[in-house]
Protein backbone atom coordinates (compact mmCIF):
# COMPACT_ATOMS: atom_id res chain seq x y z
CA UNK A 1 0.00 0.00 0.00
CA UNK A 2 1.42 3.37 -0.93
CA UNK A 3 2.14 6.09 1.56
CA UNK A 4 -0.80 7.88 3.14
CA UNK A 5 -0.20 11.25 1.53
CA UNK A 6 0.18 9.94 -2.00
CA UNK A 7 -2.77 7.57 -1.91
CA UNK A 8 -5.54 10.07 -2.53
CA UNK A 9 -3.67 11.72 -5.35
CA UNK A 10 -3.05 8.46 -7.13
CA UNK A 11 -6.64 7.28 -6.69
CA UNK A 12 -8.07 10.53 -7.97
CA UNK A 13 -5.59 10.58 -10.83
CA UNK A 14 -6.54 7.09 -11.95
CA UNK A 15 -10.23 7.95 -11.81
CA UNK A 16 -9.69 11.24 -13.62
CA UNK A 17 -8.01 9.51 -16.53
CA UNK A 18 -11.45 8.29 -17.45
CA UNK A 19 -12.51 11.86 -18.14
CA UNK A 20 -10.35 11.91 -21.24
CA UNK A 21 -12.44 12.18 -24.34
CA UNK A 22 -11.62 8.90 -26.03
CA UNK A 23 -13.42 6.23 -28.03
CA UNK A 24 -13.24 3.90 -25.07
CA UNK A 25 -15.27 6.24 -22.94
CA UNK A 26 -18.32 5.82 -25.15
CA UNK A 27 -18.30 2.08 -24.58
CA UNK A 28 -20.70 0.67 -22.01
CA UNK A 29 -18.63 -0.02 -18.86
CA UNK A 30 -20.11 -3.51 -18.76
CA UNK A 31 -18.38 -4.43 -22.02
CA UNK A 32 -15.02 -3.31 -20.70
CA UNK A 33 -15.59 -5.17 -17.45
CA UNK A 34 -16.69 -8.39 -19.10
CA UNK A 35 -13.93 -8.33 -21.71
CA UNK A 36 -11.33 -7.72 -19.01
CA UNK A 37 -12.63 -10.66 -16.99
CA UNK A 38 -12.56 -12.93 -20.03
CA UNK A 39 -9.02 -11.70 -20.67
CA UNK A 40 -7.91 -12.54 -17.13
CA UNK A 41 -9.41 -16.02 -17.35
CA UNK A 42 -7.68 -16.53 -20.69
CA UNK A 43 -4.31 -15.37 -19.36
CA UNK A 44 -4.47 -17.51 -16.24
CA UNK A 45 -5.52 -20.57 -18.20
CA UNK A 46 -2.17 -20.82 -19.97
CA UNK A 47 0.07 -23.60 -18.75
CA UNK A 48 3.24 -23.28 -16.74
CA UNK A 49 5.59 -23.16 -19.70
CA UNK A 50 3.43 -21.54 -22.39
CA UNK A 51 5.53 -18.41 -22.63
CA UNK A 52 5.42 -17.81 -26.35
CA UNK A 53 1.77 -18.61 -27.02
CA UNK A 54 0.88 -16.17 -24.23
CA UNK A 55 2.51 -13.21 -25.93
CA UNK A 56 -0.21 -12.13 -28.41
CA UNK A 57 -2.44 -11.28 -25.47
CA UNK A 58 -0.19 -8.28 -24.85
CA UNK A 59 -2.13 -6.55 -27.61
CA UNK A 60 -5.20 -6.09 -25.40
CA UNK A 61 -3.73 -3.91 -22.64
CA UNK A 62 -1.50 -2.12 -25.15
CA UNK A 63 -4.52 -1.20 -27.30
CA UNK A 64 -6.52 -0.05 -24.30
CA UNK A 65 -3.67 2.11 -23.07
CA UNK A 66 -3.25 3.63 -26.51
CA UNK A 67 -6.95 4.17 -27.18
CA UNK A 68 -7.62 5.44 -23.69
CA UNK A 69 -4.75 7.88 -23.75
CA UNK A 70 -3.40 6.46 -20.52
CA UNK A 71 0.18 7.28 -19.58
CA UNK A 72 1.88 3.91 -19.94
CA UNK A 73 4.57 4.86 -17.45
CA UNK A 74 2.01 5.39 -14.67
CA UNK A 75 0.62 1.91 -15.16
CA UNK A 76 4.12 0.43 -15.36
CA UNK A 77 5.09 2.13 -12.10
CA UNK A 78 2.11 0.63 -10.33
CA UNK A 79 2.83 -2.81 -11.74
CA UNK A 80 6.42 -2.59 -10.52
CA UNK A 81 5.24 -1.40 -7.12
CA UNK A 82 3.10 -4.48 -6.47
CA UNK A 83 5.36 -7.01 -8.16
CA UNK A 84 7.51 -7.98 -5.13
CA UNK A 85 4.99 -10.50 -3.84
CA UNK A 86 4.69 -12.28 -7.18
CA UNK A 87 8.47 -12.21 -7.61
CA UNK A 88 8.98 -13.63 -4.14
CA UNK A 89 6.75 -16.62 -4.80
CA UNK A 90 7.73 -17.03 -8.42
CA UNK A 91 11.47 -16.99 -7.78
CA UNK A 92 11.15 -20.38 -6.10
CA UNK A 93 10.29 -21.88 -9.47
CA UNK A 94 13.84 -21.82 -10.81
CA UNK A 95 14.96 -23.18 -7.45
CA UNK A 96 12.73 -26.22 -7.50
CA UNK A 97 12.32 -26.87 -11.19
CA UNK A 98 15.74 -27.40 -12.69
CA UNK A 99 14.83 -29.76 -15.47
CA UNK A 100 16.19 -28.45 -18.74
CA UNK A 101 13.46 -28.06 -21.29
CA UNK A 102 14.89 -25.67 -23.83
CA UNK A 103 18.20 -26.06 -25.56
CA UNK A 104 19.98 -23.73 -27.95
CA UNK A 105 23.07 -25.58 -28.88
CA UNK A 106 25.06 -25.34 -25.67
CA UNK A 107 22.72 -22.80 -24.06
CA UNK A 108 20.24 -24.60 -21.82
CA UNK A 109 17.30 -23.05 -19.98
CA UNK A 110 15.76 -24.88 -17.04
CA UNK A 111 11.99 -25.10 -16.89
CA UNK A 112 11.94 -23.09 -13.68
CA UNK A 113 13.11 -19.91 -15.38
CA UNK A 114 10.55 -20.28 -18.14
CA UNK A 115 7.73 -20.75 -15.67
CA UNK A 116 9.01 -17.79 -13.67
CA UNK A 117 8.91 -15.60 -16.76
CA UNK A 118 5.42 -16.86 -17.51
CA UNK A 119 4.34 -15.86 -14.01
CA UNK A 120 5.76 -12.37 -14.42
CA UNK A 121 4.17 -11.88 -17.85
CA UNK A 122 0.81 -13.10 -16.54
CA UNK A 123 1.25 -10.76 -13.59
CA UNK A 124 1.90 -7.73 -15.77
CA UNK A 125 -1.06 -8.57 -18.03
CA UNK A 126 -3.61 -9.15 -15.28
CA UNK A 127 -2.52 -6.19 -13.15
CA UNK A 128 -2.50 -3.74 -16.04
CA UNK A 129 -5.98 -4.77 -17.10
CA UNK A 130 -7.34 -4.26 -13.57
CA UNK A 131 -5.89 -0.75 -13.39
CA UNK A 132 -6.97 0.12 -16.92
CA UNK A 133 -10.54 -0.69 -16.00
CA UNK A 134 -10.90 2.29 -13.70
CA UNK A 135 -8.69 4.45 -15.90
CA UNK A 136 -10.96 3.99 -18.90
CA UNK A 137 -14.38 3.85 -17.28
CA UNK A 138 -14.23 5.74 -14.03
CA UNK A 139 -15.00 4.12 -10.71
CA UNK A 140 -18.66 5.18 -10.58
CA UNK A 141 -19.29 3.62 -13.98
CA UNK A 142 -17.63 0.39 -12.92
CA UNK A 143 -19.91 0.28 -9.86
CA UNK A 144 -22.93 0.96 -12.06
CA UNK A 145 -21.84 -1.85 -14.37
CA UNK A 146 -21.61 -4.20 -11.39
CA UNK A 147 -25.11 -3.21 -10.28
CA UNK A 148 -26.55 -3.83 -13.73
CA UNK A 149 -24.80 -7.21 -13.76
CA UNK A 150 -26.82 -8.28 -10.74
CA UNK A 151 -24.23 -7.77 -8.00
CA UNK A 152 -26.20 -7.23 -4.73
CA UNK A 153 -27.33 -3.61 -4.52
CA UNK A 154 -26.14 -3.11 -0.99
CA UNK A 155 -22.63 -4.12 -1.94
CA UNK A 156 -22.49 -1.72 -4.90
CA UNK A 157 -23.82 1.09 -2.71
CA UNK A 158 -21.19 0.20 -0.15
CA UNK A 159 -18.49 0.45 -2.83
CA UNK A 160 -19.62 3.87 -3.97
CA UNK A 161 -20.00 5.17 -0.45
CA UNK A 162 -16.67 3.87 0.75
CA UNK A 163 -14.96 5.40 -2.27
CA UNK A 164 -16.44 8.76 -1.36
CA UNK A 165 -15.40 8.52 2.28
CA UNK A 166 -11.95 7.12 1.68
CA UNK A 167 -10.96 10.61 0.58
CA UNK A 168 -12.26 12.07 3.81
CA UNK A 169 -10.74 9.46 6.10
CA UNK A 170 -7.37 9.23 4.41
CA UNK A 171 -7.17 13.00 4.57
CA UNK A 172 -7.76 12.92 8.32
CA UNK A 173 -5.34 10.06 8.78
CA UNK A 174 -2.63 11.79 6.78
CA UNK A 175 -3.04 14.94 8.86
CA UNK A 176 -2.57 12.89 12.02
CA UNK A 177 0.47 11.16 10.59
CA UNK A 178 1.97 14.46 9.47
CA UNK A 179 1.36 16.05 12.87
CA UNK A 180 3.08 13.13 14.50
CA UNK A 181 6.01 13.27 12.10
CA UNK A 182 6.52 16.95 12.80
CA UNK A 183 6.63 16.30 16.52
CA UNK A 184 8.69 13.13 16.58
CA UNK A 185 12.41 12.94 16.03
CA UNK A 186 12.92 11.24 12.66
CA UNK A 187 10.98 8.14 13.57
CA UNK A 188 9.28 6.77 10.48
CA UNK A 189 6.82 4.46 12.19
CA UNK A 190 4.71 5.31 15.18
CA UNK A 191 5.12 4.01 18.70
CA UNK A 192 2.52 1.38 19.52
CA UNK A 193 0.73 3.19 22.34
CA UNK A 194 0.61 6.43 20.41
CA UNK A 195 -0.76 4.56 17.43
CA UNK A 196 -3.51 3.00 19.52
CA UNK A 197 -4.70 6.33 20.87
CA UNK A 198 -4.45 7.94 17.43
CA UNK A 199 -6.47 5.19 15.81
CA UNK A 200 -8.85 5.08 18.73
CA UNK A 201 -9.51 8.82 18.43
CA UNK A 202 -9.89 8.47 14.68
CA UNK A 203 -12.35 5.66 15.22
CA UNK A 204 -14.43 7.67 17.69
CA UNK A 205 -14.51 10.61 15.30
CA UNK A 206 -15.49 8.18 12.54
CA UNK A 207 -18.41 6.86 14.52
CA UNK A 208 -19.59 10.39 15.24
CA UNK A 209 -19.25 11.24 11.59
CA UNK A 210 -21.35 8.22 10.70
CA UNK A 211 -24.11 9.47 12.99
CA UNK A 212 -23.99 12.92 11.40
CA UNK A 213 -24.12 11.42 7.92
CA UNK A 214 -27.07 9.29 8.88
CA UNK A 215 -28.90 12.32 10.26
CA UNK A 216 -28.17 14.20 7.04
CA UNK A 217 -29.51 11.31 4.97
CA UNK A 218 -32.68 11.04 7.05
CA UNK A 219 -33.32 14.76 6.74
CA UNK A 220 -33.08 14.38 2.97
CA UNK A 221 -35.64 11.63 2.80
CA UNK A 222 -33.60 8.46 3.26
CA UNK A 223 -35.87 5.56 4.09
CA UNK A 224 -33.38 2.72 4.15
CA UNK A 225 -32.88 1.85 0.51
CA UNK A 226 -30.67 3.51 -2.03
CA UNK A 227 -31.80 3.32 -5.63
CA UNK A 228 -29.45 3.66 -8.58
CA UNK A 229 -31.38 5.31 -11.38
CA UNK A 230 -28.77 5.88 -14.07
CA UNK A 231 -29.42 3.84 -17.19
CA UNK A 232 -26.86 1.95 -19.21
CA UNK A 233 -27.43 1.26 -22.90
CA UNK A 234 -25.35 -1.32 -24.67
CA UNK A 235 -25.00 -0.65 -28.38
CA UNK A 236 -23.78 -2.64 -31.35
CA UNK A 237 -20.24 -1.44 -30.79
CA UNK A 238 -20.29 -2.97 -27.30
CA UNK A 239 -21.26 -6.37 -28.66
CA UNK A 240 -18.56 -6.12 -31.33
CA UNK A 241 -16.01 -5.13 -28.67
CA UNK A 242 -16.82 -7.98 -26.31
CA UNK A 243 -17.26 -10.70 -28.94
CA UNK A 244 -14.36 -9.56 -31.07
CA UNK A 245 -11.85 -9.57 -28.24
CA UNK A 246 -13.22 -12.79 -26.75
CA UNK A 247 -12.84 -14.60 -30.06
CA UNK A 248 -9.29 -13.28 -30.28
CA UNK A 249 -8.48 -14.50 -26.77
CA UNK A 250 -9.87 -17.94 -27.54
CA UNK A 251 -7.88 -18.17 -30.77
CA UNK A 252 -4.69 -17.21 -28.97
CA UNK A 253 -5.43 -19.85 -26.37
CA UNK A 254 -6.00 -22.59 -28.88
CA UNK A 255 -3.35 -21.84 -31.47
CA UNK A 256 0.28 -21.02 -30.79
CA UNK A 257 0.21 -17.87 -32.89
CA UNK A 258 3.86 -16.87 -32.51
CA UNK A 259 4.91 -20.29 -33.72
CA UNK A 260 2.61 -20.05 -36.72
CA UNK A 261 3.89 -16.58 -37.46
CA UNK A 262 7.47 -17.74 -37.16
CA UNK A 263 6.87 -20.71 -39.45
CA UNK A 264 5.28 -18.38 -41.97
CA UNK A 265 8.25 -16.05 -41.93
CA UNK A 266 10.76 -18.87 -42.10
CA UNK A 267 8.81 -20.52 -44.86
CA UNK A 268 8.76 -17.26 -46.74
CA UNK A 269 12.49 -16.84 -46.40
CA UNK A 270 13.50 -20.29 -47.61
Amino acid sequence: MPKVEKTLGSMAALDDLALNETTLRSLDPRSKLITSLVFIVAVTSFGKYDLLSLLPLVIYPVSLIALGNIPAWEITKKILYVSPFAVFIGIFNPVFDREIIVQFGSFAIPGGWISFTVIMVKFALTVSVALILVATSGFDSVCLALAKLKVPQIFVVQLMFIYRYIFVMVDEASRMVRAHKLRSFRRSSIDFRIFVSMIGQLLLRTLDRAQRIHAAMISRGFTGEIRLTRELKAGLIDWIFVLGWSVFFILVRIYNIPELLGLLVMGGLT
Binding site: V4, T44, L55, V118, Q158, I162, L207
Partner: protein, 350 residues
Protein backbone atom coordinates in the same frame (compact mmCIF):
# COMPACT_ATOMS: atom_id res chain seq x y z
CA UNK B 1 -1.53 -11.75 2.00
CA UNK B 2 -3.24 -10.51 -1.15
CA UNK B 3 -3.03 -13.17 -3.87
CA UNK B 4 -2.09 -12.26 -7.43
CA UNK B 5 -3.86 -13.56 -10.56
CA UNK B 6 -0.59 -14.75 -12.00
CA UNK B 7 -0.30 -17.50 -9.39
CA UNK B 8 -3.85 -18.71 -9.76
CA UNK B 9 -5.50 -21.11 -12.17
CA UNK B 10 -8.96 -20.25 -13.54
CA UNK B 11 -10.40 -23.32 -11.85
CA UNK B 12 -9.29 -22.34 -8.37
CA UNK B 13 -10.09 -18.68 -8.96
CA UNK B 14 -13.51 -19.52 -10.32
CA UNK B 15 -14.34 -21.86 -7.46
CA UNK B 16 -13.39 -19.31 -4.83
CA UNK B 17 -15.34 -16.67 -6.72
CA UNK B 18 -18.42 -18.89 -6.59
CA UNK B 19 -17.98 -19.34 -2.85
CA UNK B 20 -17.41 -15.64 -2.24
CA UNK B 21 -20.35 -14.66 -4.43
CA UNK B 22 -22.57 -16.96 -2.42
CA UNK B 23 -21.32 -15.49 0.85
CA UNK B 24 -21.82 -11.95 -0.48
CA UNK B 25 -25.39 -12.62 -1.53
CA UNK B 26 -26.09 -14.26 1.82
CA UNK B 27 -24.57 -11.37 3.77
CA UNK B 28 -26.38 -8.79 1.66
CA UNK B 29 -29.68 -10.47 2.40
CA UNK B 30 -28.91 -10.61 6.11
CA UNK B 31 -27.91 -6.95 6.26
CA UNK B 32 -31.11 -5.96 4.48
CA UNK B 33 -33.13 -7.86 7.06
CA UNK B 34 -31.33 -5.95 9.79
CA UNK B 35 -33.66 -3.12 10.63
CA UNK B 36 -30.87 -0.76 11.61
CA UNK B 37 -30.59 1.61 8.67
CA UNK B 38 -27.77 3.42 10.44
CA UNK B 39 -25.62 0.57 9.23
CA UNK B 40 -25.51 1.92 5.68
CA UNK B 41 -23.38 4.99 6.36
CA UNK B 42 -21.64 3.21 9.23
CA UNK B 43 -20.37 0.41 6.98
CA UNK B 44 -19.02 2.88 4.49
CA UNK B 45 -17.32 5.16 6.97
CA UNK B 46 -15.83 2.32 8.98
CA UNK B 47 -14.62 0.75 5.77
CA UNK B 48 -12.92 4.00 4.84
CA UNK B 49 -11.50 4.17 8.36
CA UNK B 50 -9.96 0.71 8.09
CA UNK B 51 -8.64 1.54 4.63
CA UNK B 52 -6.97 4.66 6.00
CA UNK B 53 -5.74 2.95 9.17
CA UNK B 54 -4.11 0.21 7.12
CA UNK B 55 -1.75 2.77 5.68
CA UNK B 56 -0.36 3.87 9.01
CA UNK B 57 2.63 1.90 10.16
CA UNK B 58 3.37 1.41 13.81
CA UNK B 59 6.39 -0.07 15.56
CA UNK B 60 5.72 -3.48 16.97
CA UNK B 61 6.90 -3.37 20.59
CA UNK B 62 9.96 -5.46 21.42
CA UNK B 63 10.83 -6.19 17.82
CA UNK B 64 11.48 -2.85 16.18
CA UNK B 65 9.81 -3.90 12.96
CA UNK B 66 6.70 -2.16 11.77
CA UNK B 67 3.23 -3.45 11.11
CA UNK B 68 -0.17 -2.23 10.17
CA UNK B 69 -3.77 -2.98 11.03
CA UNK B 70 -5.72 -5.59 9.10
CA UNK B 71 -9.12 -4.52 10.36
CA UNK B 72 -11.33 -7.54 9.85
CA UNK B 73 -11.77 -8.16 13.57
CA UNK B 74 -12.53 -4.55 14.44
CA UNK B 75 -15.14 -4.42 11.70
CA UNK B 76 -16.73 -7.63 12.90
CA UNK B 77 -16.89 -6.34 16.48
CA UNK B 78 -18.42 -3.02 15.50
CA UNK B 79 -20.69 -4.08 12.66
CA UNK B 80 -21.56 -7.69 13.18
CA UNK B 81 -20.35 -10.49 10.90
CA UNK B 82 -22.47 -9.93 7.77
CA UNK B 83 -21.99 -6.19 7.44
CA UNK B 84 -18.31 -6.58 8.32
CA UNK B 85 -17.88 -9.17 5.56
CA UNK B 86 -19.40 -6.83 2.97
CA UNK B 87 -17.23 -3.98 4.22
CA UNK B 88 -14.05 -6.09 4.04
CA UNK B 89 -15.08 -7.13 0.53
CA UNK B 90 -15.49 -3.52 -0.55
CA UNK B 91 -12.10 -2.55 0.90
CA UNK B 92 -10.41 -5.39 -0.96
CA UNK B 93 -12.24 -4.51 -4.19
CA UNK B 94 -11.01 -0.95 -4.05
CA UNK B 95 -7.46 -2.08 -3.25
CA UNK B 96 -7.58 -4.41 -6.23
CA UNK B 97 -8.99 -1.85 -8.69
CA UNK B 98 -6.87 1.12 -7.68
CA UNK B 99 -3.63 -0.33 -6.41
CA UNK B 100 -3.54 -3.75 -8.05
CA UNK B 101 -3.17 -5.12 -4.52
CA UNK B 102 -4.57 -8.53 -5.40
CA UNK B 103 -5.88 -9.46 -8.83
CA UNK B 104 -9.47 -9.44 -10.08
CA UNK B 105 -9.63 -13.20 -10.49
CA UNK B 106 -7.94 -13.57 -7.13
CA UNK B 107 -10.43 -11.15 -5.55
CA UNK B 108 -12.72 -14.07 -4.77
CA UNK B 109 -9.88 -15.83 -2.95
CA UNK B 110 -8.79 -12.66 -1.16
CA UNK B 111 -12.27 -11.77 0.06
CA UNK B 112 -12.64 -15.32 1.32
CA UNK B 113 -9.22 -15.52 2.98
CA UNK B 114 -9.40 -12.12 4.63
CA UNK B 115 -13.15 -11.69 5.12
CA UNK B 116 -14.70 -15.06 5.81
CA UNK B 117 -12.31 -16.19 8.54
CA UNK B 118 -12.36 -13.09 10.76
CA UNK B 119 -16.07 -12.37 10.30
CA UNK B 120 -17.70 -15.77 10.22
CA UNK B 121 -15.30 -17.98 12.12
CA UNK B 122 -13.06 -16.04 14.49
CA UNK B 123 -15.60 -13.45 15.57
CA UNK B 124 -18.64 -15.59 16.45
CA UNK B 125 -16.88 -18.70 17.69
CA UNK B 126 -13.87 -17.30 19.44
CA UNK B 127 -14.23 -13.65 20.23
CA UNK B 128 -17.87 -13.66 21.26
CA UNK B 129 -17.56 -16.90 23.21
CA UNK B 130 -14.69 -15.58 25.29
CA UNK B 131 -16.20 -12.14 25.82
CA UNK B 132 -19.44 -13.63 27.04
CA UNK B 133 -21.83 -11.17 28.62
CA UNK B 134 -19.50 -8.84 30.45
CA UNK B 135 -16.34 -7.71 28.71
CA UNK B 136 -13.37 -6.96 30.89
CA UNK B 137 -9.95 -5.74 29.83
CA UNK B 138 -8.46 -9.18 30.20
CA UNK B 139 -11.27 -10.87 28.32
CA UNK B 140 -11.13 -8.42 25.44
CA UNK B 141 -7.38 -8.90 25.26
CA UNK B 142 -7.49 -12.70 25.19
CA UNK B 143 -10.50 -12.87 22.90
CA UNK B 144 -9.14 -10.44 20.33
CA UNK B 145 -5.65 -11.95 20.31
CA UNK B 146 -6.86 -15.52 19.96
CA UNK B 147 -9.41 -14.56 17.33
CA UNK B 148 -6.80 -12.60 15.39
CA UNK B 149 -4.31 -15.46 15.46
CA UNK B 150 -6.81 -18.06 14.30
CA UNK B 151 -8.32 -15.87 11.60
CA UNK B 152 -4.90 -15.16 10.13
CA UNK B 153 -3.65 -18.73 10.41
CA UNK B 154 -6.70 -19.99 8.52
CA UNK B 155 -6.40 -17.23 5.94
CA UNK B 156 -2.71 -17.90 5.37
CA UNK B 157 -3.33 -21.63 5.14
CA UNK B 158 -5.94 -21.11 2.47
CA UNK B 159 -3.51 -18.93 0.51
CA UNK B 160 -1.18 -21.93 0.49
CA UNK B 161 -3.98 -24.30 -0.55
CA UNK B 162 -5.14 -22.03 -3.34
CA UNK B 163 -1.63 -21.51 -4.68
CA UNK B 164 -0.65 -25.17 -4.52
CA UNK B 165 -3.85 -26.38 -6.15
CA UNK B 166 -3.35 -23.89 -8.98
CA UNK B 167 -0.15 -25.65 -9.88
CA UNK B 168 1.67 -22.60 -11.18
CA UNK B 169 4.16 -22.08 -8.41
CA UNK B 170 6.72 -24.82 -7.88
CA UNK B 171 6.82 -24.27 -4.13
CA UNK B 172 6.17 -27.57 -2.42
CA UNK B 173 3.39 -27.64 0.14
CA UNK B 174 5.63 -28.18 3.16
CA UNK B 175 8.01 -25.32 2.33
CA UNK B 176 5.18 -22.94 1.61
CA UNK B 177 3.32 -23.80 4.78
CA UNK B 178 6.46 -23.46 6.87
CA UNK B 179 6.99 -20.04 5.32
CA UNK B 180 3.46 -18.74 5.65
CA UNK B 181 2.17 -20.00 8.96
CA UNK B 182 4.89 -18.68 11.31
CA UNK B 183 4.92 -15.25 9.66
CA UNK B 184 1.17 -15.00 9.93
CA UNK B 185 1.26 -16.25 13.48
CA UNK B 186 3.30 -13.19 14.34
CA UNK B 187 1.02 -10.96 12.25
CA UNK B 188 -2.03 -12.52 13.89
CA UNK B 189 -0.75 -11.87 17.38
CA UNK B 190 -0.01 -8.27 16.53
CA UNK B 191 -3.40 -7.87 14.86
CA UNK B 192 -5.10 -9.33 17.89
CA UNK B 193 -3.23 -7.07 20.29
CA UNK B 194 -3.94 -3.95 18.23
CA UNK B 195 -7.61 -4.92 17.94
CA UNK B 196 -7.78 -5.51 21.67
CA UNK B 197 -6.11 -2.19 22.42
CA UNK B 198 -8.37 -0.21 20.09
CA UNK B 199 -11.52 -1.95 21.30
CA UNK B 200 -10.52 -1.32 24.91
CA UNK B 201 -9.87 2.33 24.08
CA UNK B 202 -13.29 2.72 22.48
CA UNK B 203 -14.94 0.79 25.27
CA UNK B 204 -13.39 3.00 27.93
CA UNK B 205 -14.21 6.22 26.11
CA UNK B 206 -17.69 5.29 24.94
CA UNK B 207 -18.92 2.02 26.45
CA UNK B 208 -22.36 2.53 24.94
CA UNK B 209 -21.00 2.05 21.43
CA UNK B 210 -20.04 -1.55 22.00
CA UNK B 211 -23.31 -2.25 23.73
CA UNK B 212 -25.21 -0.66 20.87
CA UNK B 213 -23.48 -2.76 18.27
CA UNK B 214 -23.85 -5.89 20.38
CA UNK B 215 -27.61 -5.44 20.59
CA UNK B 216 -28.08 -5.03 16.90
CA UNK B 217 -26.41 -8.26 15.96
CA UNK B 218 -29.13 -10.35 14.38
CA UNK B 219 -29.68 -13.24 16.72
CA UNK B 220 -27.47 -16.17 17.61
CA UNK B 221 -24.94 -17.38 15.15
CA UNK B 222 -25.97 -20.81 14.06
CA UNK B 223 -23.22 -23.42 14.14
CA UNK B 224 -25.37 -25.56 11.89
CA UNK B 225 -25.37 -22.93 9.15
CA UNK B 226 -21.65 -22.54 9.28
CA UNK B 227 -21.09 -26.27 9.15
CA UNK B 228 -23.44 -26.57 6.20
CA UNK B 229 -21.54 -23.77 4.50
CA UNK B 230 -18.22 -25.46 5.15
CA UNK B 231 -19.50 -28.75 3.77
CA UNK B 232 -20.63 -27.03 0.58
CA UNK B 233 -17.26 -25.32 0.28
CA UNK B 234 -15.47 -28.62 0.81
CA UNK B 235 -17.55 -30.38 -1.82
CA UNK B 236 -17.07 -27.59 -4.33
CA UNK B 237 -13.36 -27.27 -3.84
CA UNK B 238 -12.77 -30.99 -3.57
CA UNK B 239 -14.92 -31.80 -6.54
CA UNK B 240 -13.67 -29.14 -8.88
CA UNK B 241 -10.10 -29.05 -7.77
CA UNK B 242 -9.60 -32.79 -7.88
CA UNK B 243 -9.91 -32.62 -11.66
CA UNK B 244 -6.60 -30.92 -11.58
CA UNK B 245 -4.91 -33.25 -9.16
CA UNK B 246 -1.51 -34.21 -10.40
CA UNK B 247 -1.04 -37.79 -11.54
CA UNK B 248 2.63 -37.54 -10.66
CA UNK B 249 3.85 -39.21 -7.47
CA UNK B 250 3.61 -37.20 -4.31
CA UNK B 251 6.64 -36.29 -2.23
CA UNK B 252 6.74 -39.49 -0.24
CA UNK B 253 6.27 -41.73 -3.25
CA UNK B 254 8.94 -39.80 -5.13
CA UNK B 255 11.39 -40.16 -2.26
CA UNK B 256 10.57 -43.86 -2.03
CA UNK B 257 11.12 -44.35 -5.72
CA UNK B 258 14.52 -42.71 -5.58
CA UNK B 259 15.71 -44.73 -2.64
CA UNK B 260 14.06 -48.12 -3.04
CA UNK B 261 13.27 -48.27 -6.73
CA UNK B 262 9.54 -48.66 -6.27
CA UNK B 263 6.89 -46.30 -5.04
CA UNK B 264 5.42 -48.57 -2.47
CA UNK B 265 6.93 -50.92 0.03
CA UNK B 266 7.05 -54.51 -1.11
CA UNK B 267 5.41 -57.05 1.11
CA UNK B 268 7.62 -57.33 4.17
CA UNK B 269 6.68 -60.87 4.95
CA UNK B 270 5.38 -60.23 8.46
CA UNK B 271 2.08 -61.99 9.02
CA UNK B 272 0.55 -59.03 10.83
CA UNK B 273 1.33 -56.76 7.90
CA UNK B 274 -0.32 -59.03 5.36
CA UNK B 275 -3.33 -59.56 7.60
CA UNK B 276 -3.84 -55.84 8.05
CA UNK B 277 -3.19 -55.22 4.38
CA UNK B 278 -5.88 -57.76 3.57
CA UNK B 279 -8.36 -55.99 5.80
CA UNK B 280 -7.51 -52.66 4.27
CA UNK B 281 -7.99 -54.00 0.77
CA UNK B 282 -11.42 -55.26 1.66
CA UNK B 283 -12.58 -52.11 3.38
CA UNK B 284 -11.12 -49.47 1.12
CA UNK B 285 -13.86 -48.56 -1.29
CA UNK B 286 -11.75 -46.06 -3.14
CA UNK B 287 -8.26 -47.53 -3.42
CA UNK B 288 -5.83 -45.03 -4.88
CA UNK B 289 -8.59 -42.42 -4.89
CA UNK B 290 -10.47 -44.00 -7.78
CA UNK B 291 -13.35 -46.42 -7.76
CA UNK B 292 -12.53 -50.09 -7.43
CA UNK B 293 -12.36 -52.52 -10.30
CA UNK B 294 -13.08 -49.96 -12.92
CA UNK B 295 -10.87 -50.99 -15.80
CA UNK B 296 -11.79 -47.97 -17.92
CA UNK B 297 -10.91 -45.69 -15.05
CA UNK B 298 -7.55 -47.38 -14.65
CA UNK B 299 -6.88 -47.11 -18.36
CA UNK B 300 -7.86 -43.42 -18.27
CA UNK B 301 -5.49 -42.72 -15.46
CA UNK B 302 -2.67 -44.40 -17.34
CA UNK B 303 -3.29 -42.28 -20.41
CA UNK B 304 -3.70 -39.13 -18.34
CA UNK B 305 -0.42 -39.69 -16.63
CA UNK B 306 1.25 -39.11 -19.93
CA UNK B 307 -0.76 -36.21 -21.26
CA UNK B 308 -1.29 -34.03 -18.14
CA UNK B 309 0.67 -31.28 -18.16
CA UNK B 310 2.17 -32.20 -21.49
CA UNK B 311 5.18 -29.97 -21.57
CA UNK B 312 4.75 -28.76 -25.09
CA UNK B 313 6.63 -25.58 -24.84
CA UNK B 314 6.35 -24.72 -28.48
CA UNK B 315 9.78 -23.30 -28.11
CA UNK B 316 11.03 -24.28 -31.47
CA UNK B 317 13.01 -21.70 -33.38
CA UNK B 318 9.87 -20.82 -35.29
CA UNK B 319 8.15 -20.14 -32.05
CA UNK B 320 10.79 -17.74 -30.87
CA UNK B 321 10.86 -15.83 -34.11
CA UNK B 322 7.10 -15.67 -34.03
CA UNK B 323 7.18 -14.52 -30.43
CA UNK B 324 9.47 -11.63 -31.18
CA UNK B 325 7.34 -10.70 -34.18
CA UNK B 326 4.20 -10.79 -32.04
CA UNK B 327 5.64 -8.38 -29.50
CA UNK B 328 6.79 -6.09 -32.28
CA UNK B 329 3.33 -6.17 -33.84
CA UNK B 330 1.68 -5.44 -30.52
CA UNK B 331 3.91 -2.41 -30.02
CA UNK B 332 3.22 -1.17 -33.54
CA UNK B 333 -0.53 -1.56 -33.06
CA UNK B 334 -0.28 0.42 -29.86
CA UNK B 335 1.60 3.25 -31.49
CA UNK B 336 -0.72 3.26 -34.48
CA UNK B 337 -3.80 3.53 -32.27
CA UNK B 338 -2.25 6.36 -30.33
CA UNK B 339 -1.32 8.19 -33.51
CA UNK B 340 -4.84 7.79 -34.90
CA UNK B 341 -6.31 9.00 -31.63
CA UNK B 342 -4.09 12.06 -31.58
CA UNK B 343 -4.97 12.93 -35.16
CA UNK B 344 -8.63 12.64 -34.36
CA UNK B 345 -8.19 14.95 -31.37
CA UNK B 346 -6.39 17.54 -33.46
CA UNK B 347 -9.00 17.52 -36.20
CA UNK B 348 -11.79 17.58 -33.64
CA UNK B 349 -10.22 20.54 -31.89
CA UNK B 350 -9.54 22.53 -35.05
Amino acid sequence: MHMADALLSPAVGGTMWAVTAGLTIYSARKVKQDLDERKVPLMAVLGAFVFAAQMINFTIPATGSSGHLGGGMILAILLGPHAAFLTMASILTIQSLFFADGGLLALGCNIFNMGFFPCFIAYPFIYKKIIGNNPTNARIGTAATLAGVIALQLGAFFVVLETISSGISELPFSTFVLLMQPIHLAIGIVEGIVTAAVVTFVWKARPEILEMTEKHLAGEFSMKNVLAGLVIIAVLTGGMLSWFASAYPDGLEWAMFRTAGSEELADSGYKAHSALAGIQEKTAFMPDYTFKDNPSAIAEVAVDEESWPAVNTGTSTAGIIGGALTLLLAGLIGFALKWIGRNREISAGA
